[in-house]
């Protein structure tokens, strides 16, 4: 299995036992840096001007966590409001979400809260949600206080970090923190070969949210 961190194989050549595969979705207002966070995490790159995402982009990245290899299947979605109606197909069945806002723009924080609410109502009840306050490198133009976001995250049981796709600050860390929090049980383990089986198991996909009045 390809692994960018280069530690998937033990020095003695034995592969690790457990491989977990998780679907992760990025949500947030347009131009807060969703694609840039993914590009930094997956390719270690940063472009000052990242193409605006239409629909969604799909990428994968694998990280190692103790004795487990965690493969993220990442859906990087479009931020513009009118693409909102397409979002459920990306967060449905997702085990993790990163809701991104721009610390220099208060409106994007408000939008992030809306996304969190929607995930809490519509996504899987066990979804791990992380809040990322991106563009930390522009802290001198800050409009959203760290403490305000931290308090909000605590109240809602979210992981929270301020990140910078530009300097790479906390980018790997936020994905790692998510990986640590995700349950690495039988359901999520297995080689790529039986991924299809896993995907088709009940409860892994489809609307699972209890009390979802829309379904």
């Amino acid at each position: 299995m390809a692994n960018r961190t280069g530690t998937a194989q033990r020095p003695n050549g034995q592969t690790q036992g457990k491989i977990c595969q998780f679907k992760l979705v990025l949500l947030g207002e347009s131009a807060v840096g969703k694609s840039s966070l993914v590009l930094r995490f997956v390719k270690g790159q940063f472009h000052e001007y990242q193409e605006s995402t239409i629909g969604a982009a799909f990428l994968t990245q694998t990280i190692c966590l103790d004795d487990t290899t965690v493969k993220f299947e990442i859906w990087d979605t479009a931020g513009q409001e009118r693409y909102h109606s397409l979002a459920p197909m990306y967060y449905r069945g997702a085990q993790a979400a990163i809701v991104v806002y721009d610390i220099t723009n208060q409106d994007t924080f408000g939008r992030a809260k809306t996304w969190v609410k929607e995930l809490q109502r519509q996504a899987s009840p066990t979804i791990v949600i992380a809040l990322a306050g991106n563009k930390q490198d522009l802290a001198n133009k800050r409009m959203v206080e760290y403490e305000e976001a931290q308090t909000y995250a605590d109240e809602n049981g979210l992981l929270f970090m301020e990140t910078s796709a530009k300097t790479a600050m906390n980018v790997n860390d936020i994905f790692l923190a998510i990986a640590k929090k995700l349950p690495k049980n039988e359901q999520n383990t297995g080689q790529a070969g039986n991924a299809q089986g896993r995907r088709l198991t009940e409860g892994d996909t489809g609307p699972r949210a209890a009390g979802n009045c829309c379904k």
């Binding site: 990242q50 605006s52 969604a56 799909f58 479009a78 197909m89 070969g193 088709l200």
Partner: protein
């Protein structure tokens, strides 16, 4: 690349990807250059008066590609944009003075994010200003649509192809308001409807592909939103996109569905080989690299050869069916 006649930037200023097959492209172009010369010669004889009367000859000529030096005028004529322009009460220059600063913020954010790797957009501030003007004017004169992400790519490529701000505006307006379904309005109903139309057409014409994609659980929106929204700009190679647009302007939006079906058929083996969503997405992502897609002339041939029964009428009927249902 070292041995290729072609640089890593195409004539419209786009960087070719790292995995671009120069050898294959050399081979294709050596043949295609002769085709282009022959076509230009034929056009100069048959359409020497620039009178593009809609008939079978025009359709045949357009499908074989509009010569680059008459493309702007021809697009204006065959799309109806020239008519829209002439019937408009306000000229583009007048419209330019009509807009407030309401929608401009979202456009300004996207300006440097439109083809950031394109050498013309990266190095010519004037081109970015033209793009801004076109998008700002368009958004203000059509408030149902306003600014929808994706229009920046269409207007951007129109500008690169026509080098003409006014023509770009009228072509964009005609595309969005007359040629395409309601893709870009706030509810995107036309787009959602076309996913259903595509689904039904694939089911009928390529049941194996349909069953496989359905089994893997990929909604069409996942693989094809950008196809429809960007009219294949930033999805397929530039020259292939412009050849698609030649036909789109003359023949209408059924082209988008026909291109989708042709793309799926060309990648049938790869699609059927994919075992999960992640493998399937890689197939979709790599479609731009297929030799048949790179060969724009052959690709257009496939578009009409592989989906010849898909008439506008049939597609409009399906659209009506799903619009009612939604």
């Amino acid at each position: 690349m070292a041995n290729s006649t072609y640089s890593n930037i195409d004539e419209y200023g786009f960087q070719r990807s790292d995995d671009f097959d120069y050898k294959l492209y050399d081979l294709f172009m050596s043949e295609y250059m002769r085709t282009l010369a022959r076509r230009a010669q034929r056009w100069s004889v048959v359409y020497k008066d620039n009178n593009y009367k809609k008939n079978k000859t025009l359709k045949r000529f357009v499908r074989k590609g509009i010569p680059i030096d008459i493309r702007t005028n021809c697009w204006m004529e065959i799309s109806g944009a020239e008519k829209v322009k002439n019937e408009s009460v306000l000229s583009y220059q007048q419209l330019r003075h009509q807009y407030s600063n309401q929608i401009v913020e979202s456009i300004q954010i996207d300006l440097p994010r439109t083809f950031p790797d394109n050498v013309f957009f990266a190095n010519q501030q004037a081109l970015c200003t033209m793009l801004y003007n076109v998008l700002a004017v368009f958004s203000h004169q059509n408030l149902d649509v306003g600014y929808c992400q994706g229009l920046n790519y269409i207007a951007g490529l129109l500008l690169l192809a026509t080098k003409n701000e006014t023509a770009t505006f009228w072509l964009l307006k005609t595309l969005v308001e007359q040629i395409l379904p309601k893709y870009y309005i706030k509810t995107m109903t036309g787009l959602l409807c076309d996913f259903e139309v595509l689904n039904e057409i694939v089911k009928k014409h390529e049941p194996l592909i349909h069953r496989h994609i359905h089994g893997i659980g990929m909604p069409w929106a996942m693989g094809t939103t950008k196809w429809f929204i960007c009219l294949y700009a930033d999805v397929l190679p530039t020259e292939t996109v412009l050849r698609i647009w030649d036909c789109l302007f003359l023949e209408g939006s059924k082209l988008l569905i026909r291109v989708a079906l042709a793309l799926l058929k060309i990648h049938k083996d790869d699609i059927l080989k994919s075992t999960d969503l992640s493998e399937l997405m890689v197939v979709f992502k790599n479609m731009k690299n297929h030799p048949r897609v790179l060969d724009c002339h052959g690709f257009i041939f496939d578009v009409f050869g592989l989906s010849s029964k898909l008439t506008n009428n049939k597609i409009e009927k399906l659209r009506a069916k799903y619009q009612q249902g939604s």
